[in-house]
Amino acid sequence: MLTALLLVPLVGGLVVAFAPTRRNPLLTKQLALVVSLAVLVLAVVIAVGYDPGGGMQYVEEISWISAFGTHYALGVDGLGLALVLLTAVLTPIVILAAWNDGDEGRWGTGTYFGFLLGLEALSLGVFAATDVFLFYVLFEATLIPTYFLIGGWGGPDRARAAAKLLIYNLLGGLVMLVAVIGLYVESAKAGTPSYLLSDLSNLDLSTGVERWLFVGFFIAFAIKAPMFPVHTWLPDATQQGTPGVSVMLVSILDKIGTFGMLRYCLGIFPDASQWATPVVIVLALISILYGALVAIGQDDMMRLIGLTSVSHFGFIVIGIFVFNSQGQSGSTLYMVNHGISTAALFLVAGFLVKRRRSQLISDYGGVEKVAPVLAGFLLLSGLSVLSLPGMATFVSELLVLVGAWVEHPWIAIVAVPGIVLAAVYVLRMYQRTMTGPVAPGVEVVTDLRPREVVAAVPLIVLLVVLGFYPKPLLDVIDPYVQDTLSHVGKADPAPAVGSAPESRADSAGSDQ
């Protein structure tokens, strides 16, 4: 089942890129959309068949290189399922929203959508892999389509941005490769070498080795996520890339970083993860405030949105490393919600940029007057980015903050100004682009076309529905989080006030 999920977009991508239909852009786009919708259907079927009780499901396992103990092994748990669904939902929306983005690039439309679908296939593989080696290979492979997508379509300085992205992530990947090889050595020492996650998570590592290997994995994930101070590739990439590619990059690929921290860092190196917690939390707190502050200072919308993600990833990382149910459930939910809300903001801002042909906030003003629907969507997606209650992002952010408070009040106190700054950067952008008198050059901005509305509406609806009824996702996530916590050996602290002693409850009850 999971193999089919990976093969459909992979084969579909190849067909889109190389089949004779590539000479007809419209047919190419329609084909790409159909393929991505098929993936969505498959993903929904998988989700429906998933037993919310938890554990790895839909497991497939074939020995690959037995000498190294590598396997072609797939499976989804609560975390994997959430991210697989996110990927499957976002890709058709991106294809629909980026309908014409592929036409003006270095290569043809077919190549653009072929790469997009290929990227989807690889991302799905990353989220479904249960073998560290397979994960590593797919993790690095995602860079290939990303590199070409940013280098081939986008702003004037895109080649540089693409090279920067590649070098940063490759560096992280190579550090991780060393750790992956180290894992092989350790696992061979313990008996037969195996890269299966289930085997590795029970591996008995000496403290020193465990810490070194943890650092190797963590650096790669921190670059991917991205965290301060290795975040600078992201704003450049989102500034230069087309909005659709930025969505794939920020909403899906960057999640691999936090996904990896949760599944691999905590799964294989539970003790080292707790050892590193203070440093990780401090870096995450810096990311939150730093990303938000720098975002306020930007004039380029796409760069601004990219930087807001640095801030949000800080929240996700904090939730992971406070080691309690609220924090980790919140983080997992945050990954999904952040994916949707940032996608909405990127795409709607992209619609705006495409009309006026400028990404600079200072070139806009009064758009609300000429394009009220566009303004409405920008406001809604902006509100979800600033985690307004009622939007899905609020639930996850509140869970993370509460989890942080339970772990240590100061973490929450330092992190919370991030929500004030979020209001500033979102509303500042909205105020300067949408309100006030109509700026010169903005008259050309037309309101959203039906295609664009169709692309944006599902995201907004999802955000609102998940804001009021996140239970289906939380039900899937909760067992996973409990498993992780028990694996790490941490239990939720009891509240300061325990359950009521009988006599006390009686006297309190009779008080009124």
Binding site: T232, Q326, G366, L383, A423, F468, P495, Q512
Partner: protein, 649 residues
């Protein structure tokens, strides 16, 4: 002052607090969800439906709010018929958040406190909808305005009906969003857009307290529902309770425009006047008071936090009153007055069991008379081509008799003219404050005198004196849709005091806030009321002497004392914010932005550049001469041989 207050208060700490223990909803109370659902439906239809609903949308929105009001009345009658112990009703809709042991339900709680709020919100809200039908008649985006209004009503109802701090938080931010949308409703004006953003951001600073408060409440109690927290409050440590109290107070300061987060309220007057009446006078800004009263089980056990509440209330009631004295913009005078009156409510809610009921009482009467006066101000603006400067009014009582008469009722109520609603409610607060603490009582009494001054000044400048409007302005009375709500609200302003008959409101709220203890003043209540009236009369007379007897210049005089100038500038609140927060933050942002490019990114790119530089030097070795390559080869081979020899030796 703080020390004095603390010592005065620590003596009266009860150890038991009222517990929220709702029975499940049935009968008409089972329709509790519908109270919220109706305006939600209205907002959805109007905002999603688009232009198609232009014709009938505003009417529908108004009808839906009255539908909620009808339900509210039915439910109010229902709980009145029940015994006192049976007046708390809960309704579980669905499980909202569940993570680990934290369960947050989408739960509603209907008790005497929320019952009063539901009536206020839907009742005054409905009247303001009707008023808006006339006021926004010619606005091209009228439908959207009504959509936002319905959204606001829905969010405010969520705020007061939620049975969990997280649910309250949802409504809390929902009203913030509606307020943002409505302040910036005329967003083609940059000042309106800026005011909207300012309001939202300052409110977010308050949310800082709310978010952390929720975190601390969960960490302390393992639950965030009112029922769970009130049940366990007695067992929590003092430190935790005080911290929760102060965090909730911070949240209340943001929403209720209390010092030091007061700066947004005056700018918020950029919004259409019905919005100022509904959101920035009658309902939303009182949410902070609601939060404190609702959390009485926390504040009762944390006297230090209650002291904080009293201090904030005293500062703000004087702060707002001083601003009200110097402003020439009629809406800003009323905004300053709102700030001041909410200061009274906050003060009362800080007084503990004795004060909660009076805080809510004043909140209700203030909701009536302030909404009345704001709508009256809107009516005068409507009649004078949207001029807000009182120096351009004068003698409007001739041109707009209905507006004048209704406004006068509100005026008499707010200054506390004996018999009018404000007299009863404010008098009770001042009296209770004196009983607990002379300093707070004195503040409240002085504030009453200042209120008499600035409201009389407003009346005199607007409705009396000489005609000062522009020649091409022809003041006229407003249409029926606007005057009828004015009349209704004027009647409520006069009669609001009946709620106190036989201490009805105190007894009614007792299940929520606890039994009221008798306060004993050294002098009889009647004599005390007389003193309060005299103080107010002094304020009125001073206003008559300084404003009423002379001609009012059309331009504000510039050669004024330092005090007046400070009051005109809102006591430099914005300047202080700029100097302490905004400017340093913007500087940090500029510095960080530069550092991000040069230092953080520069470090990474610097590594790349130095590798490139090294390569540029080392590539010189490739000079193209075979001989030099051969020498290098030979030298290398010799080196390897030598190394081998050395190692072997």
């Amino acid at each position: 002052m703080t020390a004095a207050l603390t010592s005065a208060l620590t003596s009266v700490v009860p150890t038991e607090v009222p517990v929220v223990d709702p029975s499940s909803a049935d009968g008409v109370l089972g329709l509790l969800w519908l109270v919220i659902a109706l305006p939600v439906l209205g907002a959805l239809v109007l905002l999603v439906g688009g232009r198609r609903t232009n014709a009938w949308g505003p009417g529908l929105a108004t009808g839906l709010v009255f539908g909620s009001f009808g339900l509210g009345v039915a439910m109010f009658v229902e709980i009145l018929s029940r015994s006192e112990d049976d007046r708390q009703v809960g309704q579980h809709l669905w499980t909202w958040i569940s993570a680990g042991q934290w369960q947050v339900g989408a739960d509603l709680l209907y008790d005497p406190l929320s019952a009063l709020f539901v009536l206020l919100i839907t009742g005054v809200g409905g009247l303001i909808h009707v008023y808006s039908l006339g006021y926004m008649e010619h606005d091209a985006r009228k439908r959207r305005f009504f959509g936002y209004l319905n959204l606001f009503v829905a969010a405010m109802l969520v705020l007061v009906l939620a049975a969990d701090y997280v649910g309250t938080f949802l409504g809390w931010e929902g009203v913030g969003l509606a307020s943002y949308l409505l302040i910036g409703f005329w967003q083609h004006k940059p000042s309106a857009a800026a005011a909207a953003k300012k309001a939202f951001v300052i409110n977010r600073v308050g949310d800082f307290g709310m978010a952390l408060g929720v975190g601390l409440i969960f960490a302390t109690f393992g639950t965030t529902s009112f029922a769970g927290v009130s049940e366990a409050a007695g067992r929590a440590s003092d430190g935790a309770l005080i911290a929760i109290g102060f965090l909730l107070l911070l949240a209340a300061c943001g929403k209720s425009a209390q010092f030091p987060l007061q700066a947004w309220l005056l700018d918020a007057m950029e919004g259409p006047t019905p919005v100022s009446a509904l959101i920035h006078a009658a309902t939303m800004v009182t949410a902070g008071v609601y939060l404190i009263v609702r959390s009485n089980f926390i504040f009762e056990l944390a006297p230090a936090a209650r002291t904080g509440v009293i201090v904030i209330g005293c500062i703000t009631l004087l702060y707002g009153a001083v601003i009200g004295c110097a402003k020439d913009d009629i809406k800003k005078v009323l905004a300053g007055s709102t700030m001041s009156q909410i200061g009274y409510m906050v003060l009362a809610s800080g007084l503990g069991v004795a004060g909660y009921a009076f805080a809510i009482f004043h909140l209700l009467t203030h909701g009536f008379f302030k909404a009345n006066m704001f709508l009256g101000a809107g009516s005068t603006m409507h009649g004078t081509d949207d001029d807000v400067d009182m120096r351009h009014y004068g003698l409007l009582r001739k041109a707009m008799p209905v507006t004048f008469l209704t406004f006068a009722m509100g005026y008499l109520a707010i200054i506390g003219f004996p018999g009018f609603s404000g007299f009863w409610s404010k008098d009770k607060i001042i009296e209770t404050a004196f009983a607990q603490n002379p300093v707070a009582g004195a503040c409240a009494l002085v504030g009453a005198g200042v209120t008499g001054f600035y409201m009389t000044r407003l009346m005199l400048m607007t409705f009396f004196g000489k005609e000062r409007w522009e020649p091409d302005v022809h003041p006229h009375e407003s249409p029926r849709t606007m005057t009828v709500p004015l009349v209704v609200l004027a009647a409520l302003s006069v009669l609001g005091g009946v709620l106190l008959l036989g201490d009805w409101i105190v007894d009614f709220l007792a299940p929520v806030v606890g039994e009221h203890e008798e306060e004993h003043l050294a002098i009889s209540p009647l004599a005390f009321s007389a003193i309060a009236v005299v103080v107010v009369a002094v304020g009125v007379v001073v206003a008559w002497l300084t404003v009423g007897r002379r001609d009012v210049p059309r331009e504000a005089p510039q050669d004024v004392s330092f005090v007046t100038r400070a009051a005109r500038n809102e006591l430099y609140g914005n300047e202080v914010n700029d100097a302490l927060v905004v400017t340093p933050t913007m500087r940090t942002i500029t510095a960080l932005d530069a550092a991000d490019g040069r230092a953080v990114d520069g470090a990474a790119e610097g590594v790349a550049r130095s590798v490139g530089g090294l390569s540029a030097v080392s590539r010189r070795l490739q000079n193209g001469y075979v001989r030099s390559y051969a020498v290098a080869l030979l030298a290398g081979a010799a080196l390897v041989v030598a190394a081998l020899l050395v190692v072997n030796l």
